[in-house]
Each structure stands twice: as structure tokens, then as C-alpha cells.
């Protein structure tokens, strides 16, 4: 596949049912690249967490969009998940929130490299890369520490 243009560009509503669509499209891309099953499994999870964040945190209403690009070069494939929402910012934990707080830690543990960009008013972009061949398990390098706290949020 091409190194330059995205292999696939997906644009869909930032709603819960869209996350599975992105995951399935990733499976289709992986099929074309003959990606190892374990790496695909990690990529599905990391990409799911990034999309879920856009669905859950980015927009006040359910009219926002989710934008996903997938690229591949000789060594790795990269998935970019983008929203035009409120951006990651310190904010009071909503008491009604059911978010566990494991999304970004999982992205770090399951990708070979990642980058989160954005800020208030700029939306959020999460860029995750997955090597076709791993020298080490990224989950050993970025281990998830801590455990579930009494409030339901993860505490490390």
C-alpha cells in the first residue's frame, strides 16, 4: 500500500455505534497488510479507546464528527483519530461519568508509539503507530499501574 496518501479515510458521526465501524475498517486494512493477529488485536483496542474518547468526551451533543485516517509504510501502520470537540483539558470529574480513566493508559500500553495533540477549542488528535514486528511488548515499557478506586475511576 501507499506510504503517502492514507489507505483509508473514515468520516462518521461521533456516536457509540461508530466505534465498531472503525474497528472493522481496521480489520480490513490489516487483512491487506497481512498483519500479525496479536498486533492487530492491540491496534483494535488502542483505536477503540481513542474513538471512544471522541464519542464520550469531545462533544456536548451527538452531532459531532469523528475522523479517522489509516496509513502504512514499510515498518508500521499508523491510525490517526481526530475530533473537533472541546479538547483535552483539566475539568471536574463529572459525578455521573462512567469513564474508568484507562483510555490513554491503554493507548500507551498497546501502541509502539503515540502522540496526543490539541487543547481547549482545538479538538483532539490521537496518532498511534504499530510496528509489523515488535522487539518488545509495549505493555512492558508502558505498564498500566494502579487499580480501580472506590469511586469507580482508576487510581495509580
Amino acid at each position: 500500500m501507499s506510504d503517502e496518501a492514507p489507505i483509508v479515510h473514515l468520516d462518521l458521526p461521533a456516536r457509540p455505534e461508530g466505534v465498531g465501524v472503525v474497528r472493522q475498517a481496521l480489520v480490513g486494512v490489516a487483512d491487506g497488510l497481512a498483519i500479525d493477529g496479536g498486533i492487530l488485536s492491540d491496534a483494535k483496542m488502542a483505536v477503540t479507546e481513542a474513538c471512544t474518547n471522541a464519542v464520550v468526551h469531545a462533544y456536548e451533543d451527538d452531532l459531532g464528527r469523528l475522523d479517522v485516517e489509516m496509513y502504512a509504510d514499510q515498518e508500521q501502520f499508523t491510525v490517526v483519530v481526530r475530533d473537533r470537540g472541546v479538547g483535552i483539558a483539566p475539568r471536574p470529574a463529572r459525578s455521573s461519568s462512567t469513564a474508568l480513566g484507562l483510555g490513554l493508559p491503554l493507548i500507551a500500553a498497546l501502541s509502539d508509539s503515540f502522540e496526543v495533540r490539541g487543547g481547549p477549542g482545538q479538538g483532539t488528535e490521537v496518532r498511534m503507530s504499530f510496528s509489523y514486528e515488535r522487539e518488545a511488548d509495549p505493555a512492558d515499557e508502558n505498564p498500566i499501574t494502579g487499580g480501580p478506586g472506590p469511586t469507580g475511576r482508576w487510581e495509580s
Binding site: 466505534v19 496479536g38 477503540t48 479507546e49 484507562l102 500500553a109 498500566i144
Partner: protein, 129 residues
């Protein structure tokens, strides 16, 4: 065999084990199915049995929203002194096993492999709170 059936995301309540209720999850589960899972867990815990087992052996994927729902249910089970176990099956998918392992949640839930172990463990009320 239909693709759509194989891929179907289902959450079924199995009450054929007497005092232990099973919640059997098949296919991929994420933020889209998490609300249905929360409802089912609520229902199962509300029927106040001896224990609840979440059976993930037919499940192919779960994300942190599902872990969140499973952990909330665990807290409720502890409060109500109901047994609570996650059953992974003998041949779990990486999309299920991996997230449980790297989050260190295997001993927390706890997670067991076989249905038999799960039934036994679910009949013991949780010790810690």
C-alpha cells in the same frame, strides 16, 4: 453459519444454574453495548442470587467501557455480599485476555478459566471490600 450471527454482539442471562446467574457475552463489546451490559448486570445482581458469573468465553473483544461496567458490578456485588466472578474460557481471544492481563485485573475480579471453577468461586461471597 451466518457472518452476522458469528459476529453478533449478544448479552444473555442464563438462569439455569440455580442460585448462580450467568451473564453470557458473545462477540465484540464496547461503548455501544456497555449500557445494555450495565442493565443486565443490574438485573442479575438485583435478583439477589448467591453469585453472578460474567462469562466471556464467547466474547472476542472488550474495551475499557466494558471493564468499567464489570468493575462497577463487582463493587455492587461486594456491597450486597454476592459472589462475583469473570469466566474467560479455556481458549480466550487476545481481544479479551490481553486487556485483563495488562490492567492487572485477573486477581481483582477474579478471572478464572473454566465454567466449573467459576461456579465454585461464585458461591463464595467476596472477602474484601
Amino acid at each position: 453459519m451466518f457472518d452476522a450471527l458469528m459476529d453478533a454482539r449478544t448479552i444473555a442471562l442464563d438462569d439455569s444454574h440455580g442460585d448462580v446467574l450467568l451473564i453470557v457475552m458473545r462477540g465484540e463489546h464496547d461503548i455501544y453495548t456497555a449500557p445494555a451490559l450495565r442493565d443486565r448486570l443490574e438485573e442479575a445482581l438485583g435478583e439477589a442470587p448467591t453469585g453472578v458469573i460474567v462469562d466471556l468465553s464467547g466474547s472476542t473483544f472488550l474495551d475499557s467501557s466494558i471493564l468499567g461496567a464489570l468493575l462497577d458490578a463487582r463493587r455492587q456485588a461486594i456491597e450486597r455480599s454476592i459472589g462475583y466472578v469473570v469466566c474467560l474460557g479455556e481458549d480466550p481471544e487476545p481481544g479479551v485476555a490481553r486487556i485483563l492481563e495488562i490492567t492487572g485485573l485477573v486477581p481483582v475480579f477474579p478471572v478464572v478459566r473454566s465454567r466449573a471453577e467459576a461456579l465454585e468461586a461464585a458461591r463464595v461471597a467476596p472477602a474484601d471490600a
